[in-house]
């Protein structure tokens, strides 16, 4: 068998047996379908297995709930992004409808960029969005955010660098 850390794996396996059904029921109260709740509960255990070591946990249900809540917020954020993207496509009369595969890839890309930008300070993020989405120049961004043109240039470069790892993948 595998040489993986069996104590950690067995522990998480035990948690799955004991708490998966409970977590599904709990999530179902906040989500529109049982299937969606099962997906989030399953992803919760995938995340737990990817932690370096979680045993022993005094209150495993509290930890599972915290991970699941984070995944639920990500799901809602993804839905918002998808809706915004589809609205933008609707308004752009020049663009043709993307295939379902292209659409899924684009939404994944948007989500990845969104997560990268989320880790940046507010003004860096705002500079990037004003530049990329609104097409503002450095003087216009500086005036909008009350910062110098040099800062606008630096902030944009910093945001672009943050997105580079995603572009290189």
């Amino acid at each position: 068998m595998s040489g993986a850390d069996t104590s950690h794996s067995d522990y998480v396996g035990g948690l799955f047996r004991s708490h998966y059904d409970w977590l599904c029921s709990r999530l179902h109260r906040h989500l529109d379908s049982r299937t969606r709740a099962e997906d989030i509960a399953a992803d919760t255990f995938v995340q737990l297995l990817s932690s370096p070591g979680v045993a022993p946990i005094r209150q495993p249900r509290a930890l599972l709930t915290t991970i699941a809540q984070r995944l639920m917020y990500q799901l809602w954020r993804r839905r918002d992004l998808e809706r915004a993207y589809l609205d933008a496509l609707d308004q752009d009369e020049t663009s043709s409808a993307p295939s379902p595969e292209d659409l899924a890839q684009m939404i994944e890309a948007l989500q990845a960029i969104d997560q990268l930008l989320d880790g940046l300070p507010a003004k860096v993020k705002a500079t990037f969005l004003l530049s990329k989405l609104n097409g503002l120049t450095y003087p216009e961004i500086a005036a909008e955010l009350g910062i110098s043109q040099r800062s606008a240039s630096d902030y944009r470069a910093r945001a672009v660098n943050s997105c580079l790892p995603w572009r290189l993948e």
Partner: protein, 166 residues
């Protein structure tokens, strides 16, 4: 109408295949003693803890393959997603069989899994659009079937695994 697998259908339904036939593959931890083999049989892994993808009709399909080979499954975990199957296998909690393979063979924790062809005579898994055999297709449903035939494709990472697309 339903997009489903032919395996779960009764003879009250008729269907059209949308994807090439696919066959299950064994999923093992990358450091498993059999991981370097090109092909294994179900009997070689039958005694090991099985991580069963517990979604109907996939669960029934996998168990029937074992039964047809005269083997008794040793089910350790019934899990509800492909990602969780690979995560559990990657952690060394057992082995599995899957038809739909995850794009990332590396699990989120960095533990790699391998997939191997199975030498047993297996029943193909066919993804189909199905409907009640007593109902005729209307113009709208015919259009829907044509749309499915045109748009539904194997994921890019699986296209080399089908004999019909390789």
């Amino acid at each position: 109408m339903a997009l489903t697998y032919s395996a779960g259908l009764r003879d009250t339904h008729t269907y059209i295949a949308l994807l090439p036939d696919l066959y299950p593959r064994a999923v093992l931890p990358a450091d498993h003693r059999l991981a370097s083999y090109d092909e294994i049989s179900l009997a070689m892994i039958a005694d090991e803890p099985l991580i069963l993808l517990d979604i109907w009709p996939s669960n029934q399909y996998f168990l029937e393959q074992l039964k047809a080979a005269g083997l008794q499954p040793n089910i350790a975990y019934k899990v509800p997603s492909i990602e969780l199957v690979t995560a559990f296998v990657g952690q060394g909690l057992g082995v599995s069989t899957l038809v739909t393979l995850p794009e990332q063979i590396q699990t989120p924790s960095g533990k790699k899994v391998v997939t191997l062809a199975l030498s047993d005579p297996l029943v193909a898994s066919s993804t189909v659009v199905a409907w009640n055999r007593d109902k005729d297709l209307t113009r709208l449903t015919t259009e829907f079937v044509n749309h499915c035939k045109k748009e539904i494709k194997l994921p890019k990472h699986m296209r080399t695994m089908s004999p019909e697309t390789a």
